[in-house]
């Protein structure tokens, strides 16, 4: 039995409007090479100018991941030839990264019990993304798209604290969550805004030193992270079991086969010839600068959880569900601004809205209605302006049409007026039209009550709640005894 020793390098694209060293748009997509300029395509004579927002976002990420922020930070050039890198060097950070010594708590299961474990962060540094190559095998050419070139990236490097594929998944999920709450990355792995390299070795429990590691490059989904780690553990175990030695190398994960293949050995590793980037001045922070950035940091999930449980009195289970995604928590907060009833809102989100989300009817990323409309619906149900059952139907209509709840209730006759005068009138009408039935009831046949109730509600649909009908009907019948 071996213990896996895993460290991760997470690349996260920052959500700045413009690129890190020029004014081009940093948005995802766009026609090929429509979002680039002489600077990000490295034309002769052009110079990079640092985007201060990118620096600020990297520092925010540092705060979110409990890092120390270096007051003195330096950019370096990492030199290598590749057609997606038009300057033939990447501006990155080597010896003086922006953030160091962080930690991220994750929840892991040990013997069926959930415990908290801290994964230490070695560093976070700021760098630029490279372009994209599109290989056209049919025409036998490779095409370069530089739209992504120069988008700000942070690289988050952990210590080798992770011990399983599940821990790795929990860590990546937690980091994504924190970065999203910090507002610095949308963490859309399918769009490549969050990517992961895995360093993994295995050791026997009795070993005092880590084994030789392999690095698996560019994993772009949680699933492939888990699969790649599981495959590597098997592969390395087999080698050691057979008396062999694991070689230090870089490997590539193949999503179709679920295996990893060697890319290059240690001997073929690049010599990046790092040196300080002369075109960009060193970054110096004062205590005031850092305090100002920290003040701009949005509320992180732990804080929200605390608020939800302590201030709002929600259960830990519910609070956990609400903070598990920033979109849900933001939606909850938004709804509270309109209707300040946390328990009601929370339960309607968890029971009704998330059910529809889980059914795939709608996604939290693009709901067709606002948190304000949602709050109005919950309030309408609480105030018995619509029945609880109708409220669920209204939500379904909102999901389908995006219309506001009042409109839907009106159009479909869900509104309850609770006009008791009208109720009494109808009840009396029903009783006098069904004298024989009333006699049955008076003689002790309780079950006919349901029939009378049905006659009343049929005529009173949308006027009042069944409870009101029932109360008045009972009172009338009793007075006839």
């Amino acid at each position: 039995m071996y213990i896996p020793v895993i460290g991760l390098e997470i690349h996260a694209e920052l959500l700045t409007k413009s690129k890190v060293f020029c004014n081009c748009s940093a948005e995802f997509g766009g026609d090929q090479n429509s979002r680039c300029c002489p600077v990000c395509t490295g034309m002769p004579g052009t110079l990079p100018v640092i985007n201060q927002t990118a620096v600020e976002y990297a520092v925010k990420a540092g705060f979110a991941l409990n890092c120390e922020i270096n007051k003195f930070s330096v950019f370096d050039r990492k030199n290598y030839f590749y057609p997606d890198l038009p300057k033939a060097y990447q501006i990155s950070q080597l010896n003086y990264p922006l953030c160091i010594n962080g930690s991220v708590p994750i929840e892991v299961e040990v013997d069926g019990e959930k415990i908290q474990k801290n994964i230490r962060i070695n560093r976070i540094h700021l760098e630029e993304d490279a372009g994209k190559l599109i290989h056209d095998d049919y025409n036998g050419v490779s095409l370069a798209d530089y739209n992504r070139c120069g988008i700000p990236l942070i690289e988050i490097v952990t210590e080798p604290d992770i011990r399983s594929a599940e821990e790795a998944r929990a860590f990546v999920e937690k980091v994504s969550l924190l970065l999203q709450y910090a507002g610095v990355c949308d963490c859309k792995m399918e769009q490549g805004s969050l990517r992961c390299d895995v360093n993994i070795s295995i050791m026997k429990p009795t070993d005092t030193e880590f084994g030789t590691r392999a690095e698996i490059k560019n994993l772009n989904s949680l699933k492939s992270i888990v699969r790649a780690i599981e495959y590597e553990i098997k592969r390395q175990s087999k080698i050691l079991d057979g008396g062999g030695k694991v070689v230090q190398e870089t490997r590539r994960f193949n999503d179709n086969h679920g295996d990893t293949k060697s890319m290059r050995s240690k001997e073929d590793a690049h010599d990046y010839r790092y040196f300080p980037e002369p075109d960009i001045l060193q970054v110096n922070f004062t205590d005031e600068d850092l305090a100002a950035i920290r003040a701009k940091l949005p509320e992180l999930p732990e804080k929200r959880f605390e608020r939800y449980t302590k201030e709002y009195g929600l259960s830990e289970t519910d609070a956990k569900i609400l903070v598990s995604q920033k979109t849900i928590s933001d939606f909850f907060n938004g709804a509270l601004e309109v209707y300040n009833n946390p328990k009601s809102i929370s339960s309607f989100i968890i029971v009704e809205l998330l059910r529809r989300v889980n059914l795939g009817e709608v996604s939290m990323d693009n709901l067709p209605f606002s948190s304000k409309d949602f709050a109005i619906l919950v309030q309408m149900a609480d105030e018995e302006k619509v029945s609880k059952n109708d409220a669920k139907t209204i939500l379904r209509f909102m999901v389908e049409s995006g219309k506001n709840p009042e409109e839907i209730a009106k159009e479909n006759g869900f509104l309850i007026s609770n006009d008791t005068g009208k109720v009494e009138e109808v009840v009396e009408g029903v009783l006098s039209a069904n004298k024989a039935i009333v006699e049955q009831w008076l003689s002790g046949e309780q079950k006919v009550f349901g029939f009378l109730m049905g006659q009343c509600t049929k005529e009173l649909k949308g006027v009042c709640t069944p409870k009101v009908v029932k109360d008045i009907l009972e009172a009338k019948l009793n007075s006839m005894k």
Binding site: P38, T41, G42, M43, P44, G45, T46, L47, P48, V49, I50, R77, N79, F81, P83, P86, K87, A88, Y89, S142, D271, R273, Y274, F275, P278, D279, I280, L281
Partner: protein
Amino acid sequence: MDVSQLKIRQLREMLDKKEISAAELADEYIKRIKEYDKKLESYITVTEEIAKEQAKAAQERINSGSSSALTGIPIAIKDNICTEGVKTTCASKMLENFVPPYNATVIEKLYSENIVMLGKTSMDEFAMGGSTQTSAFAKTKNPYDLNRVPGGSSGGSAACVSAGLAPAALGSDTGGSIRQPAAFCGVTGLKPTYGRVSRYGLVAFASSLDQIGPIARDAHDCALVLNAISGCDSRDGTSSRLAAENFAAKIGMPVKGMKIAVPKEFYADGIDAVVRDSVLSAAQKYKEMGAEIVECSMPSLKYAVAAYYLISSAEASSNLSRYDGIKYGHRSSKGDSYSELVCNSRSEGFGEEVKRRILLGNYALSSGYYDAYYGKAMALKQKIRAEYEEIFKLCDVILTPTAPSVAYGINENVTDPVKMYQADICTVTVNIASLPAISTTCGYDSKGMPIGMSIIGKHFDEATIIQVADAFEKNFEIIPPRIV
């Protein structure tokens, strides 16, 4: 009319008094270029059509009475400064057909003054060299003796000003590339403080050392050009935020009482006697003007050339990596893979000296050697800066020779790169310490070749070195080159 020896101020007066039109003036220079530049080879590209158009615009501005100091003044541009729509070759086969889609900041600034661009001047390939003989297109000659080099790397700019094929030119200076050719060609060249002039659009050689500056007929003209091209630029993160100033402001103020330092190492063995004597007699003249000559020492000078070549080559190796023949520039017709294509394109596109520096730089940065070479060079940089700080506690400016010798023969020195590199001893420390310095002519040797002296100033104190150089120039008679 002979415009060959006229200064910017004189041309300004003639233009404003309508004694000559901007078009006529441009024409005079174009005529001279056509007449002399076949022999001199100072220009790579002559932009006659653009000059005519710009002269027209300049004339309109002059006529409207709103001309600025450089309106209608013809100026030549070193061919490593990007000019939109005009080839910018860096005198390299690699960029033989490169036409930038943008202007350098200095070009935008000059255009906004309505200058008249005469053309793009030759240089050592990618500004690496001191002779302009590594140019792939125009191996410029010295106007004082066509068998000698004009210096470099801004040899085309210095030679064209010297020969009267332009009243002023822009050069760039990484280790002496403005000052040394100015000295060899008997004109005045100013290397501003690092950060004074935006580097945006200057094709990078060594980014921490490069600086654009003027070459002109005297210090006063240099001040006028510097006024136009300096200032903070949002496109260059290393450009200084200091407000622009009038660099001619101190001209005419007495040098009496000023302290001028002469560090002994700059006058030691390795400096030709004729150069040493000439610069020291200039010091004597300053003394006669009431300045005080202060003796001092710069012990690290002996390491300066080594430090300079390590730092500049390391940065160059990285800066020149982008020339892969894929997106622009020379592309080899041979090569079946990406690596082969890049390798062949670079092998064919770069000249010997450029390749030598790329190799040197990559070696100095490679793992296992970094500390021994690049690391040590960076430590020396700190030491040299500290020694300058000490010296400037004793003085206002420093006086040194600009080069150890006068311009040498075209075939001399070329086979021994180390000897070539040693010739940069007088100029490289200024770049390493980011200081401003100006070179002006202080004498001629027995064969009539010009001798240059350099006045080095404190950071951002260009006004003072211009003042000091001007004070000497006012009492010194220039002997124009025979080619004129």
